[in-house]
Symmetry: C2
């Protein structure tokens, strides 16, 4: 699933969700039960967070019997990287303009 920066920022703004996503990135695929274990919140809360992460395209669920294995969806962060890159680029462009200006003033 493709996701706009808006959904991504909103999904990652919550500490519990970010922690879940980090765990999936660092430790790999996990069941809801395993994720609930170290989360400090109830299982329904974890499920709801995973739903939001999934809707943002950040995670993926794989049903296996009665348990669901969740994993991080790597490419989902791309729009974030793009966005930060864009902001940086424009800033540098303005900085270059300033440098140009200063150079021209020097002459």
């Amino acid at each position: 699933m493709q996701s706009s920066p808006d959904l991504l920022f909103k999904a990652l703004a919550d500490p519990s969700r970010r922690a879940l996503f980090e765990r999936l990135c660092l430790e790999g695929e996990q069941t809801v039960g395993a994720l609930t274990a170290g989360a400090g919140i109830s299982q329904p809360a974890v499920s709801k967070h995973l739903g939001i992460l999934k809707q943002a395209g950040l995670v993926q669920g794989r049903d296996e019997g009665r348990q669901t294995h969740y994993s991080a969806q790597q490419r989902a962060l791309a729009p974030l990287v793009d966005w930060t890159g864009r902001m940086n680029r424009f800033w540098e462009a303005r900085f270059d303009d300033l440098e140009d200006l200063l150079k021209r003033m020097d002459q």
Copy 2:
């Protein structure tokens, strides 16, 4: 001001705040009045958003007479870039492990 990923994500999760920050990145320094003009929300709302962006280290205010000029604070995005980089790195590490495993299984 230094900022943790948490403050950054929270600050940038709101569309109005992100729009303000983008304008400051793309168009450079602006007064509150100028920012309010194209924002679609009231001046107090803009001021409040700017306060939150400032607390997250994303913008900087410069008093000049009765108006305040705000500008984007470039380095503030660094923790975000770091964070996304970390997540990517771990994912790639797991991917490398998988490749290693497959190679070893091949032999």
